[in-house]
Symmetry: C2
């Protein structure tokens, strides 16, 4: 049986399993320029929450009754397109469907054998590029500067922490479990860590772990954690707004301290971005990330769930911080 997963209804606040529906799917014979492909790995990413709502954002909303779409690594079963043949591995942002027929233009070929295929959904894909661009193009880290990373144990955060170490920075990671913190310190070489779930006074924790203040804040999370970090920013600090996962499920307009007076007093730069803003730099970034991975300078962790039917639950787990590193679902070999 071939299956797909639809957006059944739009969530109001935190999404749950009822917002998704698994149904039977078909994959018609490919026409000229099309491929029939079989999903191997499907990515779950926090930004997808935005597409479940119909609010204006950088990606168009999913349509109710239509498949969820996301990053997928797939194998070509049958090709009627130039430059693709059966057996090739491809990457695309396409439907959550086990076997599907797509225009060849919806995917790009990826090289098999150099790195695990799943890496193309993580460190060698969108999350890795996001980490690279946000930290290097906006954060512009200099040696001995202090970099604080929220969501430090996630798909993007783990890469940010390591690139910041490569650049000679002091790195403080914020995450939500002691296992994650141990991973950050012991495996990734992060200098200091904060457990936001058990630390009573985050501001004090920032003060203690950042005795020289904060020069770069790479923010995946938002909310009160960000308030605490921002209150310790140094003159000329940079705030990289990559994600705001703590606010994605808010039903009212979230409020908090007004930041502009502090940004003014300390000449702070705050910049939101998405990976496609730096499309012109993808080649440079991919080469560098590949090199660091092959040299062992960038370690990479994945939390892999098996089974297509587990996609909704895995996606929902992002908002509980169930993953260390990249969270994804393995569909087939």
């Amino acid at each position: 049986m071939n299956r797909k997963i639809l957006l059944k209804s739009r969530p109001n606040g935190m999404p749950d399993a009822n917002n998704f529906e698994i149904t039977e799917a078909t994959a018609p014979d490919p026409k000229d320029g099309e491929l029939r492909i079989k999903a191997l790995y499907i990515s779950v990413d926090p930004y997808m929450r935005g597409r479940m709502s119909d609010a204006k954002s950088y990606a168009p909303p999913f349509e109710v009754g239509k498949p969820i779409q996301g990053g997928i690594v797939a194998r070509v079963l049958e090709s009627r397109a130039d430059n693709f043949k059966a057996g090739d591995v491809v990457l695309g942002r396409i439907d959550w469907q086990e076997i599907q027929t797509v225009p060849a233009s919806a995917v790009t070929k990826i090289e098999e054998g150099k790195a695990p295929l799943s890496y193309h959904l993580g460190i060698l894909g969108m999350p890795g590029l996001t980490a690279y661009f946000g930290l290097l193009k906006i954060g512009n880290p200099k040696p001995v500067e202090t970099v604080v990373v929220s969501g430090a144990a996630g798909a993007v955060g783990t890469v940010v922490c390591q690139i910041a170490k490569i650049k000679g920075c002091r790195v403080v990671g914020i995450a939500g479990s002691d296992e994650k913190l141990a991973y950050l310190k012991n495996e990734l070489g992060v200098d200091d860590v904060i457990n936001y779930r058990t630390t009573k006074d985050i501001k004090k924790a920032i003060e203690e772990t950042c005795p020289n203040g904060v020069d770069i804040y790479y923010d995946n999370v938002g909310g009160e954690i960000s308030d605490a970090v921002i209150s310790h920013l140094n003159k000329y600090a940079r705030v990289v707004i990559c994600g705001q996962i703590s606010l994605y499920n808010a039903t009212d307009m979230p409020t908090g301290p007004r930041l502009q007076p502090l940004l003014l007093k300390r000449s702070v730069l705050m910049q939101g971005f998405i990976v496609s803003d730096y499309a012109d730099h993808v080649t440079e970034a991919s080469q560098q990330l590949n090199q660091w991975v092959s040299e062992g300078k960038l370690k990479y962790e994945e939390t892999i769930v098996e089974g297509f039917e587990n996609l909704p639950e895995t996606f929902l787990g992002l908002f509980e911080g169930k993953n260390t590193g990249k969270y994804l679902v393995k569909i087939a070999e």
Copy 2:
């Protein structure tokens, strides 16, 4: 009689006349390397409110019992310093005092005859440079972009509006009286205006005056006006945080909507700054401002109060928006 004005006490919230004290002053005979100078014009600027508090900011706090300091144009009465002679005109950020003795290093000489001397406290001085750097170095305006300026009729805002017009932008100015709005439209060529005191729905007013959204927001004011403008920012918009006058007298931490989700969705840059961040570019900026002024491309308005004793009241008037253009006090010919 020679007089000076001291910070008598720190304000809690809005400052008033009781925070200032006028006392008799002396100006001892200058020693080697010193000048005796007589104030001609003294500037009042919103940033000075910050120095009345003892909170950490970009300029050190005034000391209680010591003179207020600010921008002053003065004439040299007596010089014991190389490169200065009696009759020279100088500019410095020095004590609010009619006649004083200062190290020559505390002031710079300014050229007499090219522009009115008071311009060096405004369009050819700190406010003009602030407008120039914030708009051009951070805002980076491109033709036909929409620029919204809060505090548009103030010393900085009037210059920002005009430079934005020189750069081919659509300019919308926000100010607090119909006289100011008429000045902006009729004298400065601003495309559209909003009276924040009488407009009931600022968000709607922004929507109506900015049909193509907002590309650059030059913010002198902060608070709810900024909330309204920011909600209409376009993709890749730039927010120049120059001032936050609506919040300078707040006694509690001001709160408002959390901005990061919107900055993220629309890839917005928000940057705080002060003029000294661009010290390396002062020569370029001064030449350009002088040229625009001499060509008549930059018009300039001043609200001039006479009498040293009126300095505190004039300063307090900034927070009521009493000025159009630069607000300053004339002390002597």
